[in-house]
């Protein structure tokens, strides 16, 4: 039995702030920051947007792209580290807003930046065991970065939704295999009640991102007996533009393979949404027969790797649903004052 993505959708708020604008406030060197991070601007939620609204818009785009009946959805899982409620699921609001029935299960996930891909894996299990027909897995965040922290230059807002199913006539991208790598690594955290996360600076690199992405990716490649050359595209978690490029190179992937899914440059790090937005951008341009390699990363720490093969059904997707490229176009730029207002950094 094949399991795969039957549809997908992304959503990105229209507001942006440029790295120069943030650097101006904190006396940072914009050229050095842009060169070091390979991020030029980041998305910012509107005053009335949060993880729930982003998850709903991404999910509605996914349902519309696949022309699917939302009543077939048997499970909804939303991965995020910025759910608007500490207690009250985002996923139940999404279910009501997309028109799913009450005869389904739902829960919210949290695993730093990889909660969205964890949701995909759980939906694969439920679909594969025939407990449900379709599963809706969402990764969305309105991520936080403390004023003048390195994260403030990249912490962005956005999300993507994947609808997982097993009907071969509907699967647009078969998930051939998945593999994970998980350890207890305290590279990034946010304590209960704290508005901003803390992190271990450079410690988030080698023992965090690179170790877990490399081991997760190699584990999957070994399991399948494949190498980087067997893939047309690759997507890696993108906390900045530099990390995915470095890890891709070390695993044998080329810049051309990762370029279509490297949305971070003009988007920033959308945390739980990042890998799935990268995958969405790649599916936007993929052709039947293309193979896509995806590895997410979540601090704390873990990675989920996926081997995906695009099918002929991708040609049946609705064409008028916004692509990631379209969602990134026509931005509204904010100055730092308005950005601080949008992010609730100004306390009365």
């Amino acid at each position: 039995m094949k399991i795969g993505i039957v549809s997908y959708g992304a959503y990105i708020p229209r507001y942006r702030i440029k790295v120069e604008e943030i650097a101006k406030v904190w006396n940072g060197d914009p050229s050095a920051l842009k060169g070091g991070l390979k991020v030029f601007e980041k998305s910012v939620p509107a005053l009335d947007e949060d993880v729930v609204t982003i998850a709903v818009e991404a999910s509605r785009n996914a349902i519309e792209r696949g022309n699917l009946d939302a009543k077939r959805i048997g499970a909804i899982y939303t991965g995020s580290e910025s759910h608007p409620y500490a207690v009250k699921p985002t996923s139940t609001i999404v279910a009501e807003a997309v028109g799913a029935t009450s005869d389904m299960t739902a829960a919210d996930f949290e695993f730093a930046c990889k909660a969205g891909t964890a949701a995909v894996q759980v939906c694969m299990g439920l679909v594969g065991s025939k407990m449900i027909d379709l599963g809706l897995a969402i990764g969305a965040d309105v991520s936080q970065g403390a004023p003048n922290d390195a994260l403030e230059y990249t912490a962005a807002a956005g999300g993507a939704a994947m609808i997982i199913g097993r009907n071969e006539d509907e699967i647009i991208a078969e998930i051939e295999c998945t593999s994970s790598y998980t350890t207890d690594t305290p590279d990034f955290w946010r304590r209960e009640g704290q508005p901003y996360p803390r992190h271990g600076g450079r410690f988030t690199g080698d023992p965090g991102y690179f170790k877990h992405v490399t081991n997760g990716a190699n584990s999957l490649l070994k399991k399948l007996g494949k190498t980087a050359k067997d893939y047309d595209y690759a997507v890696f978690h993108q906390p900045n533009g530099k990390f995915p490029e470095r890890v891709a190179k070390s695993l044998g992937f080329t810049q051309e393979q990762i370029e279509p899914g490297l949305a971070v440059t003009n988007l920033g790090n959308t945390y739980s949404g990042a890998s799935l937005i990268g995958l969405s951008a790649t599916l936007d341009i993929a052709e039947p027969g293309d193979r896509i390699f995806v590895t997410s990363y979540g601090s704390g720490s873990g990675s989920d790797a996926f081997s995906i093969k695009v099918t002929e059904n991708i040609k049946k997707c609705a064409k008028d649903v916004p692509t990631v490229e379209k969602l990134l176009s026509n931005p509204i730029y904010l100055d730092y004052g308005k950005y601080a207002h949008h992010k609730g950094k100004i306390k009365f």
Binding site: L47, D48, V52, V56, P84, I332
Partner: protein
């Protein structure tokens, strides 16, 4: 707004579900349980609007009530849905060249909240449909 009242109305607010009279063909939003034209002979059923329409008129709000003060200046408009009913709604994402007659489409946004600890209300607002 009391939580039970919002909960009773949330299906309509999330997905623009109103009603339709099968006898006279008129649509209503918010939902009506009786057709005001056909009265007792009307046949009312739920109807989900497509979420597309056009701006009939609008105003830019600079001085608002306390609950919406953080959003000012914002655009409040009367939108005529393609199926007929007119609704009062916010036009989001700061359109700079808004005009009467502009096409709009529904989006899902926060409508408000009961302070920092209370319930968050979600529902439908509109953006310019380019």
């Amino acid at each position: 707004m009391p939580v039970p009242r919002f909960w009773r109305e949330q299906k309509g607010r999330y997905n623009l579900i109103g009603t339709y009279c099968k006898k006279c063909g008129k649509h209503f939003y918010p939902a009506r349980s009786i057709c005001p034209f056909c009265r007792r002979s009307g046949e009312i059923e739920d109807f989900q609007f497509k979420g597309k329409g056009e701006i009939v008129t609008y105003s830019v709000i600079h001085a608002s009530s306390e609950d919406f003060d953080h959003l000012t200046p914002y655009i409040l408009a009367i939108v005529k849905l393609d199926e007929g009913p007119c609704i009062t709604t916010q036009i989001v994402d700061e359109p700079t060249d808004i005009k009467i007659g502009d096409r709009v489409k529904a989006v899902f946004r926060r409508l408000g909240s009961d302070g920092k600890a209370g319930i968050i209300y979600y529902g439908t607002k509109f953006v310019i449909d380019n």
